[in-house]
Structures are given as C-alpha cells and as structure tokens.
Symmetry: C2
Subunit: 481 residues, 2 copies
C-alpha cells in the first residue's frame, strides 16, 4: 500500500468505512517501526502481544464513544505508562510504575493505543536529541539522518514525522516540545502550564514542566488537547481550563489580526541565511492573510530566558534528580547539575523578583496582539556538530524557547517551509496563558494556507475539519466532515 | 464638642453642609493627637505648617471631584511619602524619598491628607506592636494601655481607633493588617495581593506583601479601596483587578449564603475561654443572618502557614534588609533574620512545591463557600506578657493569619463583640483572590446588623450607604444617601 495518512481524521474515516481496523493499523505501524530502528526513536517499542490488551479494550466500543478510538501514539520515556519501565534516558534511574500518568490515562480511556516509550535527552535536559546514552544512541532527524532531531522529546517527534504513530506526548520545560517539531515538520503544541497534568511525569523543573503534543495537523493537536486537558487535582501545579479556551478552535474573532515579531536586531539566526529568509517568508505569508505586523522589544523575554540556565532554576533539576547517582548520568548532564550548587534561597528570591519584573513588562505586549511570532529555532545542526560543542549549540537552540514557561505563555510550533537541503523550517506562535485554542486556530489558518506535506512523509495536507475564519477575502473557507 | 464621627461619610456631610472645613478637622485631629502621645502611635506626626500644602491643594476642588476630599489618614512608616523620612522602625535604615508610594499618591490625588507616619514592628516583622526601639516605644492598645495594639501596623490601627484619622494604610504580609484591627475594634482589609501597588513600600517578604486598609466602617474601607486599587505597572507584583471585583460592593448574589469554619478541634484559643465564646457568638450571628455553616479541614492552611517562618521564606526578609547593619536592629529581628541562613535554592524549591500542594488542596474549599470564617486572633496579651516571651506569643497571634498571602487569599477583619474586660474581639472573613468586594459586602452585613460602636470611640455605628441585600426576611434593608 502507499504511505498511510496517519492523521486521526484519516484513520477514523478508514475505521468507519471498514477499510482498516485498529489491529491492521497497529501491525502496519510496528512493521514500519522496524524499518527505522537505526533512527533510535524508541527506548521501548511494544510487541503485538503487549498491545493486544489495548486492542481488546476497544472491542465493545466505537469512535462515537472514544474520540481517539484505535489511534496509535508514542510516549516520551519520562512519562509513566502502567507496567512499563520509565528510564528518563538514564538506565540507573529506571523504575516501573503501577499506574499510568494521569494524562496518559485520559488518552487510553479515549481509545488511543501507546506503541512504545521514546528516546529523549537524558532527564529531558537538552534541545538536541543527542543526549542519550550509547545504549539508545542519538535520535536522528526524520529528514536527514546526519541532522539532529531536536530534543529533548526527540523520539516522540520523529515517530510522528515518520508516520509510525498519529501523535505523541513530549514534555516541554525549555523548548523540548517545540524545537523537535520545527526540525521534523510537525505541529508542536506546548499548552498553557497546568492544563495537562504532570502527575506521573518525571520532573525536570517541576514548577515549569508541561506535557506537550506532537501531531501532523492542528486538527489532531486540537483533538488530543481536548482529551488530554482534564484538570487533575492531584497535580499541585494543575490549573482548570478557562471557558474562553474551550471548544472554540477555528473560530477567530476578527477578519484581520495583529501579530508581533522581535525587532530585526533582536533576531538571531546564528549565521544561517536560509533560516532568516524562511522567517521573512513566514511573516510575509501572515501579512498576506490579513495579519498586521508589529515590532516589539524582545529584551524582557531574553532576560527571563537567561534565568533558566544561568540562574538558580538549575536547582529544580537538581531536586528532580535527587537520589540518582550522578556518575550514572551523561557527563553533560552532570556538568549542568553542578552549576549553581551554592545558590541560596536568598538568591532564588532575587531571581524570582527579576523574573516577576519581566512578567510585568510583557503583560501588555502579550495582551496587545493576537500572537507573537518567532522562529522556533534560529538554525539547525548536524549530530556531529553538536557532539563537538554540546553546551553552546544546545543553548543556541533555546534562543526563542527558554522564556516561554517562565513567562507563563502558551505556544505552538508550526512548519512553514523547507530550506534548500530539504530540511524543514518552522515558526512559533505564542501568547499569554489560556490562549491555546486561539493559537491552534491561527496555526490551522497557516497550515491550511501553506498546505505543506505532513511530517517527513509523502502525504498531502488534508483539509481541516474546522471552519476556517476568512480573513478579509483572501482565504478560501474550507469546511469538511 | 462631643466626639467627632470621623467616618468619611460623616466628614463629607459636614464639609457639604459647611459645618466643618478640612482645616478645622485637621486642626482638631492634631489637637487630639497630643492627648494620645503616650500611646506611641506616631514615628512622625506632621505640623499644621507641614500640612498646609495638602490643604491648599484642595482649594479649587470639591468632594465631587475628589472622593477623599479633606479626609485625614495615617501612613505606616514603611510606606513612602515624598519629602518625609521612612524608618521602617529602624533609625539606622532611615532615608527620605523624593516621591510618594504609588498608593499614597492615589489617595493624595483623591484629596486625602496624611497626618503622619505611624509606629510599627520593626521592618514589619511581628504581630504585636511592641517591636519598636526605645526611641518610639511599644504602641499601646486603644482600649487599654496595658495591652498590645497588635502589629506590625500598630500605630496605623490605633490612630483610626482613637479617631485621630479617618483611615490608615498598613501593610500585611503575615497578618499585620488584621491582628491590629481585631485588637482595636476596626475593619482591616487585606486586599488581594497585587491590587494595591507596593511600589514605594519597604519590602518584608516582597512576593507576599500587601498594603492594607484600616477603617471604622466597611463603607470607608470600600471607598478607600476603590481609590487605592489602581494597577501600577511599575510594581512587578501588581495585578489588574477583575471586573467581577469592581463596583459591586453591597450586592450579594443570593438571599442565603454559605460559610466554612475550621473543625472544632482545629480551633486554638490558647486557653482563652472568652475568645472562644465570642467566636461561637459570631458564628451564631452569621447563622441568624441566613448563613449556612460548614466545617472544613484546616490542615492545608496550617501547613502553608508554617512555611512562612519555619521555612525559607525568611530569606525574603533577609533580602529585604540586605545592606542594613544587623546590630542596629532589635535583637528579636536579628534572631529571626538569622534563621534559615543556610537554606539553599534547592530547599526553597522544595518548600514551594509544598506550598503549591497546599494551594491545590484549598482550591475547591475556597470556591465552595462565600467565605471562610476564623477568629482573627485566638487570644490577646498584655505588653508585659509579650515582652517576657516575644517569639512564642507573637507566633500564637499568627495562627489564623500567616497562610493568607501564601495561599493568595483576600481577607477582611471585622469586629464582632467585646470580652468582659471591654477589649474588642473580631473575626476574619476570607476567600480566594479577587473576592474583595464580596468580602466587604458580607463584612458590611455583619457590621450593620451588629451595630457595635466605632473603634475605641463613643460613636454609634452609622447606617451604610450601600444597599444591604436582604438575607431571607431577617435583615432590615438599610439604604441611605
């Protein structure tokens, strides 16, 4: 058969017409997984035997009852699935939980089938996807094996891009759910902090951690988000969703919109002229859709970003890995955890005051525009380049991502084009907390008008099932299903 | 003349009829201040000469333009007034600011006249009102000089209770705006964190500090709150008010209401049977007004409270007094600042996780009832008693107050009766952030039905100018003005 369209909508249609069964889809997927073993996507890929109970659970059910009926997904291996080991990319850390993370359980209850646990930068510390011990190896980019996949949610992104699963869960503290989306031509939704439960998720910086969603389309991201965003009172950092952020995907208030970009001298492409050109094109595309472009001073965002690794927030990562033998970790992780070891509570308060000042400075900006637009990453690198300079190049990749959770924003990574080598480029739309539905809607508008192929597959962009608001008279309204 | 009714409404009426002028009121007030010098209320009481510019500024104005036209008020001496020294109760700390605190400026712009800077527990660290250096001495209770005034906003409370000013500003980090209200028969509003700017306020725990309001009536507290609660983008911790918390003072949604109290075994009156009896009476009064009483588990509130002085939050007080010679401080303050000195950033994150768990545990409780009711303090003490046991007795007074800002609640202290010695007793109504208007409305309902005399004066409780919602058919609706 030709390459299967793995979007949720496509699979559901095939299930409804009887063209495919969940069992066939899972079998096909596992078969395809075998072709990509050298990408180092999985820490554990499940067998058909292990997956049978999930298929059995669908038997007396239907798509009407379960919005993710028979949809295969992947789980980053710092999120618990009952009965399967969690490694967080560190063998010495391994434990096997009795129950699944709250968010995983929501998805399974909705009919989704977990195909395996995916590779990641150890303890979710990194944006590169190469910080895995030798046992699992660096995760390779879905477009070019020489290139990094982005991290830390490396395997989760590549699994979706190669059509092995329909969607996946990552985590995103500093950009781990967005950078791999950009490098693998995917939608990467980093929801508002607290909307997706982090109960059963190995903490990185517990006060900032988010569970994120990789998908091929914004429709799929929205479908998964709606299932996953259940309030969990057992997660201390959980927040109930707001009514204004529910059920209004695709509905844009105005026929024109406004967005802001950093002042030109605050953009940094690290010498990558093609990335710079791609960003310019993305901006022009938004303008052609009726978007009014504004320039903003990005300094408060950068100031906040610097606090994450240059300030006492590193202490959170230390608390998260307390009790784990440091010697069992990769050297680069040991080095990061060894910084700020003498930071006192007094220092943290001072840093929190600095952060609070940044939050106040960006309050108006975040409220003034429908979204803010940046490149998701300023450039990309080969695995070899990163291995030769693991700290600095990793840090470059966080230029537009590190501030997001510190400043309590919601964000979505959206593919917008390809550079001459064929590698994908993407942008990030972000706004204040509880803007997920609005961001998804604008991302959908972009995806539906750019109509890029999905992931690293030869599958055309399908029409969205959401009504797309027309912006001026420039957009063809596409409604289906 | 007989004792002047110093409520804002009474003064405004006297100004409008021409019975009094602002100048006369200020002169009378300064004269009365001289009678109470032995109460140690003021750190600096201004002279008529110093006050003349404020009177002059009223000349081409009117009550219609300035809602606080000619209203005298007092400022706790950790809040800046342009051109006057700030001591924070520590001579070595003294500095003279060029401009007034944002919140003070709002009040002055509205026509209010600052009569002086008031005594306080040094660096606002204490709930007793006796932690002042010899130079200023302990602030005495307005009902009985042997008793503590409560602190840290001691002078601000006593000045209002004795009718020297109409209202005053305090600060409230751990209870400093509520405990002195209870001990001096006053309304003490501790607004939602961030609604009153802390720009120009000497920090205690900067992430928790609130400016608070002492007044004789809830009407006055509401009037001052409406003037003072202006968003200040220069205050990193400022938050804009919500529409649901504006302009609806006196409007209660339902004819019945529900309130919660700690389980009986979680109440602590430190052996004070009269206080226990008073609390019971207050609960019965609310039930007689149509209130449905519920019991809640208070443990999460107590757990949060313990974090404030037994956890790394002490580091905030240390940061706030950085650069001040410790030897110049009172011994008790030195001792407090010397605790938790080895607390690391890691420890603070762990404490913040504990706090976050408490926040999550009380989320439902705070949403389930119109308000939660506690005694404001479990007992009271003489100045001598506190001087003999300064840490423990101070700590007892925070039993029902220390958690409030850590758990992001709004609160109001309301007088409800007197014990046999003639000393006042009061309760605190609290709820989640942005409940100020609702709490003020219920406090008004209590004040209008209890009709206690005002402060420590022989002045009867006036009718409220707010329409009081009837609760069932038990309340006489009082509308005036």
């Amino acid at each position: 058969m030709s390459q299967q369209n793995m979007t949720i909508a496509a699979l559901q249609q095939a299930y409804q017409t009887g063209d495919l069964s969940p069992k066939q889809v899972i079998e096909n997927a596992l078969e395809r997984c075998q072709q990509y073993l050298d990408h180092n996507i999985w820490i554990e890929l499940f067998s058909m035997e292990q997956l049978q109970p999930y298929l059995d659970a669908l038997e007396n059910s239907s798509i009407e009852e379960k919005p993710l009926f028979g949809i295969p997904f992947a789980i980053k291996d710092n999120i618990e699935l009952a009965g399967f080991p969690v490694t967080a990319g560190c063998e010495a850390y391994t434990y096997t939980p009795d129950k699944s993370a709250f968010v995983v359980q929501q998805l399974i209850d909705a009919g989704a089938i977990p195909l395996g646990k995916t590779n990641l930068d150890q303890f979710a510390t990194g944006l590169v996807g190469v910080r895995s011990p030798e046992k699992w190896g660096p995760c390779h980019n879905s477009f070019d094996k020489d290139y990094i996949s982005g991290g830390s949610s490396s395997g989760s992104a590549v699994a979706v891009a190669l059509g092995l699963v329909s969607f996946s869960l990552g985590t995103d503290t500093a950009g781990s759910g967005r950078v791999p989306a950009a490098f693998n031509n995917l939608i990467g939704l980093k929801p508002t902090r607290g909307l997706l439960s982090t109960d059963g998720v190995v903490p990185a910086c517990r006060s900032l951690d988010c569970v994120s969603i990789f998908s091929l389309t914004t429709d799929d991201a929205n479908t998964v988000f709606n299932v996953a965003a259940e309030f969990d009172a057992n997660d201390a950092f959980a927040r109930p969703n707001l009514d204004t952020n529910k059920g209004n995907y695709g509905q844009l208030a105005e026929s024109t919109f406004s967005f802001a970009v950093p002042k030109p001298d605050q953009l940094n492409f690290f010498g990558d002229a093609e990335y710079a050109e791609q960003f310019e094109q993305a901006v022009k595309h938004l303008e052609s859709l009726g978007g009014e472009k504004h320039f903003i001073d990005f300094e408060p965002f950068f100031t906040a970003a610097r606090l994450l690794y240059e300030g006492p927030w590193v202490a959170e990562r230390r608390v998260a890995t307390e009790g784990v033998n440091r010697q069992a970790m990769l050297q680069v992780i040991q080095d990061i955890l060894a910084t700020q070891e003498d930071a006192r509570a007094d220092d943290l308060f001072k840093a929190e005051y600095k952060l609070q000042a940044c939050r106040q400075q960006v309050r108006d900006v975040l409220q003034s525009y429908d979204f803010i637009l940046t490149p998701t990453a300023g450039t990309t690198y080969t695995i070899e380049q990163v291995q030769a300079d693991p700290i600095k190049l990793n840090s470059n990749l966080g230029h537009y991502t590190n501030f997001m959770n510190l400043l309590d924003c919601s964000a979505i990574a959206v593919p917008t084009g390809f550079i001459s080598s064929g590698l994908p480029f993407g942008v990030t739309l972000f706004s204040r907390a509880f803007s997920d539905a609005r961001l998804l809607s604008y991302a959908n508008l972009m995806q539906q008008t750019l109509r890029l192929p999905l992931g690293a597959m030869d599958v055309a962009c399908p029409d969205s099932s959401a009504a797309i608001s027309s912006c001026g008279d420039r957009i063809t309204v596409a409604v289906c299903g």
